[in-house]
Amino acid sequence: MSDHVRRAASADARGPIARSPIAPAPPVAAVAGWEVSARRSDADLTVTDLTPLAKVQVKAPWDGALAGTLGGPFGRAERSASFEDAEGDDEDVLVVGSGPGEWLALGSPGTAPDLVERLERLAARLPNPEFVTVVDLTHGRALIRIAGERTPDLLAKVCGIDLGETVTPNGAAFRSSVARLAVDVVRYDRDGTRSYLLHCERSSGQYLFDALLDAGGEFGAEIDGFVEPGLS
């Protein structure tokens, strides 16, 4: 066991430590059962590993009843009202319309089982039954956030999509080639600052992270560690 893993394990003795496919930049800490980077950066352009977030994929007819209930139509990402708790508080779930008849629900770390249950309940309550699949992808995918005003310049080096305000405004979602990988891209601005979420296969996570850091080198991109709840 390496030193940084031992430190992470001792910091959170509640259970086994889950690891992102992206090696955490030191110092390393344990947050919500995940080994994450505790590095803090105030650079203008930051790259953050958000893999600990709960990631649940939903597939259903693109024009069915669940599509209307879920929110987040194809090409858009929205916080869904379907996930408010009994008091009506926002449960911090982002529903991304990642494909025709395909959605990605992103929630706080450790909430995946609850999210799956809620989605299954939502599907079961439909007046006319539809063929729906709900799969927890949390440990099978990587999620990266890039934030800063120069993020369009960074992305333009590795992605061919028009990142202008008219084509991809805040909340836009699309799947395209990013650094020659199939990546779900979501524009998710933070406090008025440009920010994008990039979601890819777990096995490609480290490569994509390195490719983004490399492409952002000329803009001063730095690693920023994970801070709960992840999606602020």
Binding site: W62, G99, E102, G160, R175, S176
Partner: protein
């Protein structure tokens, strides 16, 4: 660069797609003979001119689309799309 008109995602670089092949009607399994099946599976017209093709948008919506492409100029125009509902 060739841009293919995906009915779901809009015009995208051809590098995002997988080439499936010339599109044509599938023979009726109940009545087609071996020669007809062989022609359907392996025979290609490969004309110099417009040809109907299927492409798979593997880095996008993951749907199959049909387009017409001019094999000399690589000009592309949309064709009726399989499975797309809009």
């Amino acid at each position: 660069m060739i841009l293919l008109p995906c009915p779901w995602c809009g015009p995208r670089n051809v590098a995002e797609f997988g080439y499936v092949g010339e599109a044509g009607p599938r023979p009726d399994p109940a009545s087609a003979g071996p020669e007809e099946w062989r022609g359907y599976l392996y025979g290609r017209a490969n004309p110099c001119g417009w040809v109907a093709e299927s492409w798979y948008h593997r880095m996008g919506c993951r749907r199959y689309i049909s387009v017409e492409r001019h094999t000399l100029s690589n000009e592309v125009r949309p064709l009726a799309t399989e499975g797309a509902g809009r």
